[in-house]
């Protein structure tokens, strides 16, 4: 899943410092300008070895205003939200929350890496819960596999059988009974999609 090596040098004219300032006002991003680039986040991150930019580099890109590089990175989607960086950061930068803000920006501006399964899963999950109020694991996995790589269903055959054998695979399509109130709540905030 690793992409081609990118150019490493950035030019200032590609940056949009105003974007960084605006982003810094969002809940969760207040401390980005306090980052001292120590790299504790990248060191403690279980996924940094798979990322195109380490968390430290993402913070650096963001606060200089390199919007497109940050938003189209795989890093923000590889982040599993384990909050290890956030609790270890000596400057209390809430890095995990910054990643969430970036994910939402990437979705909003369609800048996420195409055919990358993680944003696809997020959107399938979102749609299912928005419509039914609950997530049905089996149907979610099936939909996602069909959308990204149908061949991966073969790989799921064995764990799938084990789940059936142990009574852990539910085919029920769950939903909330009083869905209307949830729908109304969500409708009043639906600004992104």
């Amino acid at each position: 899943m690793l992409e081609l090596i990118r150019r490493k040098m950035k030019f200032q004219r590609e940056a949009d410092p105003n974007w960084a300032v605006e982003l810094g006002k969002r809940p969760g991003c207040e401390r980005i300008f306090a980052c001292i680039q120590c790299g504790t986040c990248s060191g403690t991150c279980p996924l940094s070895i798979y990322m195109d930019f380490t968390p430290r580099k993402i913070i650096a890109l963001v606060r200089e205003g390199f919007r497109n590089d940050a938003l189209s990175s795989q890093t923000i989607w590889l982040c599993a939200s384990c909050y290890s960086c956030a609790v270890h950061c000596p400057q209390n930068v809430r890095i995990t929350e910054v990643m969430y803000v970036l994910k939402r920006e990437a979705i909003k501006h369609h800048l996420y890496p195409k055919r990358f399964p993680i944003p696809v899963l997020a959107q399938e999950f979102y749609e299912m819960v928005r419509r039914r109020g609950r997530n049905s694991e089996f149907w979610l996995v099936l939909r996602m596999a069909l959308k990204t790589s149908p061949l991966s269903l073969l790989r799921l055959a064995r764990p799938g059988w084990e789940l059936i054998r142990t009574g852990r695979l539910s085919l029920r399509r769950e939903r909330v009974r009083r869905g209307f109130e949830l729908e109304r709540e969500l409708a009043s905030t639906r600004e992104v999609i």
Binding site: M1, P27, P46, L47, Y50, L78, A80, S81, C82, Y83, S84, A86, V87, Y100, K103, R104, I107, P117, I118, P119, L121, A122, Q123, F125, Y126, V129, R130, G133, R134, N135, S136, E137, F138, V141, M144, S152, R158, P159, E162, L163, T166, G167, R168, L169, S170, E174, V176, R177, R178, E181, L182, R184, E185, L186, S188, T189, R190, E191, V192, I193
Partner: protein, 307 residues
């Protein structure tokens, strides 16, 4: 809309979430059995909705908070003081919503406005709790110790805390070095190993998206637990349990590592020590070590006859 608090009720309200009704059903079964053995009432929140997990937060923050807000406001109507969220993702979603509503006026305005339009109440006053911390604080080590009826004769187990229950909020345990599950297990006579990776992430849904990376994270956990001499890994989250359990055979093949560890819920181990039955605790639902797990457990426990 009424702001009067409903009459206070004893026991705990319980928010299962999607996993505990499907792949994590053994967690629900063992939690209910354990609370029954402890004679504490546990009632499911009626008509709960999905917590939104990490996916919702990645798409639409406002909608993500509203999902939790609906659950919190339904919970508030019941009169219970505590809402138990056994799944780490559910726990964090609820907790974070309360935190953001309190900390950020813009979020508060948006949420309370929407709740009012939907005819729901405010989400203050209900306490979001994880069963680990409830067992540690409200039940206590002493009360657990008194109720033990089976003595553990097996080797030590590795307590795995994972991520979102212990981070970023510190009410369940110390984020850097949680020990309460170890203390609970040792209180009922089950020894534990010093598991250095106890808060290292299992990758969550990565096993379903970037499969190889997800497998790798779980492989590291399994290998380290085996190296420390643990006979099983004990978890507090349905996703950690699922990843380590359901993909273990594949990890064994792809990493050529002969790891074969049962992956249990801490409620199963505690319930077993307190006299819970194998099936009632959902132990028959384990995949790794599954067919032999009954014999495995029987060999490791000595039923004491005194009362």
């Amino acid at each position: 809309m009424s702001h009067d608090a409903p009459p206070r009720r004893r026991g705990y309200l319980y928010f299962p979430g999607c996993s505990l009704k499907a792949t994590g059903v053994a967690y629900e079964e063992s939690l209910q059995e354990l609370f029954r053995l402890l004679e504490i009432s546990l009632e499911e929140l009626e008509d709960w909705n999905c917590c939104g997990a990490t996916a919702y937060m990645s798409i639409d923050e406002g909608a993500a908070f509203l999902l939790s807000a609906r659950n919190l406001s339904l919970a508030r109507r019941t009169g219970f003081r505590d809402l138990l969220a056994p799944c780490s993702a559910c726990y964090l979603a609820l907790k974070k919503t309360q935190d953001y509503v309190q900390r950020h006026p813009t979020v508060r305005e948006e949420i309370t406005g929407s709740l009012r339009r939907a005819g729901l109440e405010e989400l203050d006053s209900i306490r979001v709790r994880h069963p680990l911390e409830v067992l540690y604080h409200d039940v206590g080590l002493e009360r657990l110790r008194e109720r033990v009826v089976r003595r553990w004769r097996g080797g030590p187990l590795a307590c795995y805390y994972g991520c979102q229950a212990v981070r970023p909020y510190d009410e369940v345990d110390v984020p850097y070095n949680p020990t309460r599950m170890d203390e609970l297990l040792e209180a009922v006579g089950v020894p534990t190993v010093d598991f250095a990776l106890k808060t290292k992430c299992c990758g969550g849904s990565l096993t379903g998206t970037i499969h190889e990376v997800g497998l790798r994270l779980n492989y590291i956990l399994l290998k380290e637990a085996a190296r420390k001499g643990a006979e099983a890994i004990v978890t507090i989250c349905p996703l950690c349990q699922f990843n380590l359990d359901a993909y273990q055979a594949e990890i064994r093949r792809s990493a050529r590592e002969p790891v074969d560890l049962p992956i249990l819920y801490f409620t199963q181990v505690l319930g077993w020590a307190l006299g819970g039955e194998f099936k009632a605790l959902g132990l028959h639902r384990a995949i790794s070590g599954g067919p032999f797990l009954k014999r495995w457990f029987t060999a490791r426990a000595e039923v004491e006859t005194y009362v």
